[in-house]
């Protein structure tokens, strides 16, 4: 089981849930499982080519997946996948 952390700007599409539990070995599998559960999230997370949208950042534990294997980054059993808006800070 993986815990996906949903940012407040997306909770309107998860019936208000801040965390969703899914199964999956990688970020891609976890997100696919999340979208099966909450289909409206699909278009918010991915563009037409299936790439993660420009303004969506993804973290496995403490690590930004752009510094790992992207969507193929492994998520450990019991781990956390966090979704965050990219534009913040500075």
């Amino acid at each position: 089981m993986i815990t996906v952390r949903i940012p407040s700007a997306m909770r309107g599409l998860t019936d208000g849930a801040a965390h969703v539990e899914v199964e999956g070995m990688t970020v891609r599998e976890a997100l696919d499982a999340l979208v099966v559960r909450h289909p409206a999230l699909g278009a918010r997370l991915f563009d037409d080519q299936g790439k993660v949208r420009r303004f969506v950042n993804l973290y496995v534990g403490e690590d930004d997946i752009r510094f790992s294997e992207g969507l193929d980054t492994a998520v450990p059993e019991g781990g956390t996948l966090s979704i965050l808006p990219a534009v913040a800070g500075g």
Binding site: R44, R53, F55, A86, A88
Partner: protein, 417 residues
């Protein structure tokens, strides 16, 4: 005075939201920007009404998303625009000016963004303000929160200059060091903003916060006699300052405060150890690839994943500017150059700006005929560690004239040939 704010609009997809605390567009996660009734501003604002306003950045309240709160405004902004003749002579730029942001209440341009954000936080009913910071922002948040009687929680990466830490904690703010890079601090704050009832000035209040940066350009135009410069050099951390400066000159024209259409070339400055925007510029790339572990001594610019990086890149490219990077050694030398030519002691980020100014002038990107403004965004006493042994006493002597004479040599005395 009134505010002409209409609401928030997504810069990417155009979705509209009321003027509340909100960090991102629900449709596309894009950044949100305040929109204003420009026609009403045009009708209400003139050079005379601005001149009659307070001697702070709030003289431009018509262009800001909140109404001035005198308890929050510490006299923020309205800093000197110095005609930099001696620095200009060194660099071959006869029409050079320096906007001296060391003169702000907490000695960096961050007072501008914080003044707006804390004012807005109070208006929206928050009791606690918070931020992710590389140092200067935490200092500004702590001071303004104290003045407003609000609580402050500030988050910074470990390893910051001691001056910035003390200058934040002294106000009674809760200062939390996070074991990681600025980008990791920022990520934590993004999550925390969903969990705690706090106004994170650069997360859920970022749309308002960023607007404060525009005032640095409004002042520049007013101080130049209501005209825009030809070229500006702006330090790039998140890129928000550069983007707002570029927009601000267009705003002034849109409301009739500038007689001519501004044509400002906008150049950006980064440190070599953290230069994702300069790298993208040099490579001709459209995307800004994040830097995982910044190493520059310009810690206030050490943002590896700049939120407005892509927009800053676009502004620089489309305006005919450039984005260039300076090495640590060049930064320290530029700090010394600015100090000995203009009497302004800047922190490392100002050294980045002045170093890049010099490099772009030497390459002919900045031309001698241009009116140039360099934004020196923070003061040197905050980053003393970075200057190491470079700026030291010339000698240590006994309190005796003979000792002085031995140090100075024979030629220095009155009447010496």
């Amino acid at each position: 005075m009134t505010t002409y704010l209409q609401g928030l609009t997504c810069r990417e997809c155009g979705a509209r939201y009321p003027a509340e605390a909100r960090s991102a567009c629900e449709e596309c996660f894009g950044p949100l920007e305040p929109t204003y009734d420009l026609e009403a501003i045009r009708a209400a604002v003139s050079r005379e009404t601005i001149a009659a306003g307070p001697a702070s950045m709030w003289r431009y309240q018509a262009f800001l998303p909140a109404e001035r709160d005198p308890e929050v405004d510490l006299g923020d902004g309205f800093t000197p625009l110095r005609r930099a003749r001696r620095l200009g002579a060194e660099l071959g730029l006869p029409n050079l000016y320096v906007k001296d942001e060391t003169r702000n209440p907490t000695h960096s341009f961050k007072d501008r963004v914080v003044s707006v954000a804390v004012t807005k936080a109070r208006e929206l009913g928050f009791e606690t303000v918070a931020c992710a910071s590389t140092g200067n922002l935490a200092h500004a948040v702590a001071a303004h929160a104290a003045a407003a009687g609000m609580d402050a929680v500030t988050f910074v990466p470990t390893g910051l200059e001691s001056g910035k830490l003390a200058a934040t904690a002294v106000y009674g703010a809760r200062l939390v060091e996070v074991d990681g890079t600025y980008d990791e601090v920022n990520r934590l704050c993004g999550e925390a903003a969903d969990e705690y009832p706090w106004a994170f000035v650069n997360v859920n209040l970022r749309p308002y916060y960023a607007e404060g940066s525009k005032t640095i350009a409004y002042e520049t135009a007013e101080q130049l006699g209501w005209r825009a410069p030809d070229h500006v050099v702006v330090p790039v951390a998140s890129g928000a300052l550069l983007v707002r400066v570029a927009k601000a000159f267009r705003d002034l024209r849109a409301v009739g405060l500038l007689d001519e259409e501004p044509s400002v070339r906008v150049s950006g400055a980064q440190g070599v150890g953290c230069s994702p925007v300069a790298t993208a510029f040099a490579q001709g790339a459209d995307d800004v690839r994040p830097v995982r572990t910044p190493t520059t001594i310009a810690r206030s610019l050490a943002i590896g994943d700049p939120a407005d990086g892509m927009y800053a890149l676009r502004e620089a490219r489309e305006s005919g500017g450039a984005v260039e990077a300076a090495t640590d050694a060049e930064i320290v030398e530029a700090v010394g150059l600015l100090a000995r030519t203009e009497g302004i002691f800047t922190e490392t980020a100002g050294g980045v700006t002045v170093a890049v100014l010099g490099k772009l002038a030497a390459r002919g990107v900045i031309r001698p005929d241009e009116t140039v403004v360099a934004y020196v965004t923070g003061m040197g006493l905050k980053t003393l560690e970075a200057y190491g042994e470079r700026f030291r006493p010339a000698a240590t002597i006994r309190p005796r004239l003979e000792a002085l004479a031995a140090f100075l040599g024979d030629g220095a005395r009155k009447g010496a040939a």
